[in-house]
Symmetry: C2
Subunit: 668 residues, 2 copies
């Protein structure tokens, strides 16, 4: 163990103290079979949550039951369901029903679909979700953004005014495809696709969509007959301002009053969670008030449009209505996938956040299957796309729901409405629905979040703005594509331009940290320590080549100008290099070669097992020499120091090192 | 400094020895102005090589000259050019000329362009490159792959057989666009776009293209008159096997002989670099032999096709031939961009590799400008796309070229040929050209590289194979898109599924390493140390949430089953988290919250400055508590240990810690 004897005195105290009697080596990981590696990688990619873990050491019928309970969580909690829980669920269910009915009708109008569909969609899907969903607080229903999307995407192909039946059938088909797509994502464990909609994207997108939806409501608020089908700000404003003579003061007045009322209640209920019911009950109240008003004043004859006749009875089947034939199937498919993803993003985000409040776990992929099934079932029973809207779930949560039974209660309430109360909505003025929608949408324009993004992360802010303005001035698709593209570009750019930083020694320790971050860090004589902060891939290999050589040039210039001892060792800290590909390996080889020509020695510190394995497979390990690969930067520096002191010339140092430092005992 | 007194004895020796009298804090980096940050980021992204560095502390005329010299490197080395250099350049230049003339003609035929274009393209572009290029070894000329691409992409739109003039003009236009595109990439500092063609992609792509080109040569080798225009294996084989009766034994025999001769010379010259001239001279030799043979035997009347009449004189101008009008401009643009990128990828790779041999530096972006200018100039003087082919550059290098003057010598030699010797090629049989092309192409099918990829990195191998089979069975574009998509997906997947590993203590040191990599690493009682190996972004935030909670579950189960002391602290080693976005920050917040509910304490170790800054901006720092953020894992563990020993309950520990560990002196 030559090195110990000569080193003892020479090694810096810190290194010795650090237990480094002699530098330890980084082992090459034992070879693993290709299949083995593949298996683990696939598992990590598709089953990160290891859903089958619980099935281990279970057997027979119990296992079957757990399998069923995995698909139908209701089986887990139903047995322990009791009257106490039912009471709270009853209250919550009725509360959300009072919200669901007016909202449902409003959003159906927004989607250019018969109002009754809004009620249908609050009946069947909640039942399905109650069986399959794993969230206790999610309240199922239609959402404004998806409704607007359906209107704009399907409306382009088939104007609802010209061919309402086909339009309706396409809506069912789109819902069906959305459901299938969602279920597939869940079953194929592709949940992470939803993650590509970053928080920033969703904030911007939702805000933009809300703005667009509000603009659409100008039609109802101003009582306009004709309106543009396109959703962007410019054409909407155009179509509003060109027909000022068509504005009906009656609906303007009525609308403003109700909007004021709704916003007031929103403001009041913000005072504290116990006032939640004020805003929860407001929509229904205004619907009733509005209907009474119209009924008494016969305002429907004075330019105030009303819902009109609503057919009694629960959902008719709609299996036969699905359109699986060209030319219209494709647009339904496209609409289904886009709306499906949006709906998932919202629903799962909502589910997760409430699960976090109450500290229980939600399996994203499982939720997707639940959402998918609920939409497939919906599409067969005259419902259109449903998900877990935030507003309604929040009310559900505040109303003290305990289990998914609150959804069942809501469904039953809606069913009763469908069976007996539909005539009551005959006189409901559309302008009230517009007011309800606007009030709901204003809540979605989350400017505080945007400000927060600006403060924390400028790029995220740009992504958010791209989504917002893309939606408002372009179209929903444009906004989405812009935002997602920017987010992905950011990831690629991080990998394409990894940060490389010079490390320095933190006084009286063997710790080495970024000198630009820690002012106390001090550079080491004759040694340049570089840290690479990203995986080394083809995208950044040639950049790193340039950058490293530039670091060395600059360092050598600096040393020359200060007349300090010239550079002898370059240490690359690979601690943060999580992964490497062949281009990366070639890079290390090239760096080693070019350093050799400059009579410098390349030293590697703390490479991960993947890096070591690939260095070994590619024989680059032999070129660099395993004795030049250290466990920590501290040990690498200590070794370089030792060699610089014992033998001045880099060349001798190298030979010396090769015999001295390759002692078998030195392999960790 | 309370902690020091009580800790002294309690802290593990290693920690004390490590200079940790008391744990040091990680400082929040001083706020930098948004503009400042933006500037540095843009600089790192677009000017990583800091090209203007040399201009500092220079002024006036000198600066202007350096500016010119930056664009025209010739100005730098021309003054010091001497007779000695000229001699070596002369030899090298003549050698590559003897290669350039037959190759040029062959590749022009391959591109379905008049053979003379091959000579034109070896005259003007080399001159331009000699002025602007920064490589000393690159030999400019046309390449088989780009030629084939032009043939297949333009041929689809305008069959050369039907409208040769338009086809020719489109080829010029495509070259022009390629040049403009390359120059723009260089000027806009977007060189890194080329990096997205990874080494694996290029190996697979080149191999595939070479295979396709060889298949195309069956036409010439078999002396077929009619041949399919599509390039994929299936249709080529079909068109070959369906007209077996058309095969001409004369050209088959002749072709095979020359092919054998060429391959033999290739084999001989492999014996050592001093034999390079054997293979370098072989093509011209076989052209001469072939022409003589035909001339003497009048084989042209027996089904051996010959080049025929070649017009004397140097390049005619072709500015007026460029096509900037619909409908054909778009295809020229597309061809130009695709071929331009391919040409860049090859040319720059070649330049870089030779620069590395001779240890001089090449600026990728500058090279792109040079390539661009040379192709723009070419497109105006009846040349088609040129770049720096590897084969020719290798010959140039082996022939001992010293500067770009060797390109000028070649150009002059070609000029002389154009002016006086074109008639000599009248009887050159096409089959010889085919043989030359095949011999060259076989060198491009780099199966060793593919095997190496398989050994080192399986994913890179898949990318390579995707490129190869995409090109061979589909089309060149399909192959490229497939490979690039796969490579990018790999990058995204790395970020979407970051590796998280448990760290353990390396005996008698305060170093902590991956337990799956270091068998000796030992876990610490009551503490779980997790390391995240990638930036925390929206793509992986929710994955990490799942994964971390699973790590904790598993650890707690393990401890319970072993009856060890339960978990009290979870340390996240953020050393490898190079970057973080708002989703990442939210993740940390959520983890902290959920740990609190489980009565565990979250501890962060070694966060980078970006992480610290964002934690601070988003106020999450206060939620976690700066006293729970340590410089190293070692110190974090030491502190946890100390607290566990002094006060058992986690809760007390926390309060205790809060007063004890937030001493001002403790901030580094």
């Amino acid at each position: 163990m030559g090195i110990v004897e000569n080193s003892g005195a020479v090694f810096p105290a810190s290194a010795v103290a650090d237990g480094v009697a002699f530098p330890r080596r980084v082992p090459v990981p034992p070879p693993r079979s290709f299949i083995e590696t593949l298996r683990t990688n696939l598992k990590e990619t598709f089953f990160p949550d290891d859903p089958l873990r619980q099935f281990k050491n279970e057997r027979g019928p119990r296992r079957v039951f757990m399998g069923l309970a995995y698909l139908f969580p209701v089986l887990e909690w139903a047995p322990s369901y009791n009257f106490g829980l039912l009471k709270s669920d009853l209250v919550a269910g009725i509360t959300i029903a009072s919200l669901a009915i007016p909202q449902g009708i409003s959003y159906a109008k927004l989607a250019n679909l018969p109002p009754i569909l809004g009620l249908y969609s609050s009946f069947v899907p909640p039942m399905v979700y109650a069986m399959m969903g794993s969230s206790k607080d999610l309240a199922v229903g239609t959402v404004a953004v998806a409704s607007m999307l359906i209107a704009s995407m399907l409306g382009k192909e088939v104007p609802p005014s010209q061919n309402p039946t086909l339009y309706l059938h396409l809506a069912f088909t789109a819902t069906f495809f959305a459901g299938v797509f969602q279920a597939c994502l869940g079953m194929l464990r592709l949940g992470f696709i939803v993650d590509f909609l970053s928080h920033a994207t969703i904030v911007g997108f939702m805000g933009g969509a809300a703005t667009v939806v509000c603009l659409q409501q100008l039609k109802g608020m101003l009582g306009l007959q004709h309106f543009t089908t396109s959703t962007d700000l410019v054409s909407v404003m155009e179509s509003v301002l060109t027909q000022t003579h068509q504005w009906r003061w009656e609906s303007v007045v009525l609308g403003s009053c109700f909007l004021f009322f709704l916003l007031l209640t929103r403001y009041l209920s913000k005072k504290g969670p116990k006032f939640f019911w004020i805003s929860a009950a407001a929509p229904l109240t205004s619907v009733i008030l509005g209907s009474l008003l119209v009924y008494l004043t016969h305002a429907e004859n004075h330019g105030v449009q009303v819902i009109g006749y609503l057919k009694k009875g629960i959902n008719p089947p709609s299996l036969t209505n699905l359109v699986f034939t060209a030319p219209h199937m494709m647009v339904a498919l496209k609409t289904g996938i886009v709306t499906g993803v949006i709906a998932l993003a919202e629903g799962i985000a909502v589910g997760r956040s409430f699960a976090m409040f109450k500290n229980y776990h939600i399996d994203g992929n499982k939720e997707m299957i639940a959402f998918g099934m609920m939409n497939i079932a919906g599409s067969l029973t005259s419902c259109y796309l449903t998900t877990g809207p935030f507003s309604r779930s929040a009310v559900n949560y505040n109303a003290g729901c305990k289990t998914a039974i609150s959804n069942v209660v809501m469904a039953v309430a809606v069913m009763i409405t469908l069976l007996f109360l539909t005539p009551l909505f005959h006189y409901t003025p559309l302008v009230v629905l517009s007011a309800i929608i606007i009030a709901a949408m204003l809540g979605l324009i989350n400017y505080e979040a945007a400000i927060h993004l600006w403060q924390v992360d400028k790029i995220d802010f740009c992504v958010c703005m791209a989504a917002y303005f893309g939606v408002v001035f372009g179209s929903v698709e444009i906004g989405l594509v812009l935002a997602v593209a920017m987010s992905i570009l950011r990831v690629l750019l991080f990998v394409a331009r990894p940060r490389t930083t010079v490390l320095g020694n933190i006084p009286n320790s063997s710790t080495y940290r970024r000198m630009d971050q820690y002012s106390v860090a001090q550079s080491v004589q004759g040694v340049l320590i570089l840290r690479i902060d990203a995986p080394i891939y083809f995208t950044n290999a040639s950049y790193l080549r340039e950058r490293i050589s530039r670091w060395i040039d600059e360092e050598q210039e600096r040393l020359k100008s200060n007349g300090e001892t010239s550079l002898q060792y370059v240490i690359l800290d690979l601690g943060a290099v999580g992964s490497i590909d062949t281009s990366g390996i070639d890079l290390l080889k090239e760096v080693q070669k070019s350093l050799e020509r400059r009579d410098l020695q390349l030293v590697l510190a703390n490479p991960g097992s993947e890096v070591m394995k690939k260095l070994d497979n590619s024989k680059v390990l032999e070129i660099i020499g395993q004795q030049w690969i250290f466990l920590t930067v501290g040990e690498a520096v200590a070794a370089c120091d030792f060699l610089m002191h014992t033998c001045k010339s880099g060349a001798i140092a190298r030979n010396n090192a090769d015999q001295v430092m390759t002692h078998p005992d030195n392999i960790v």
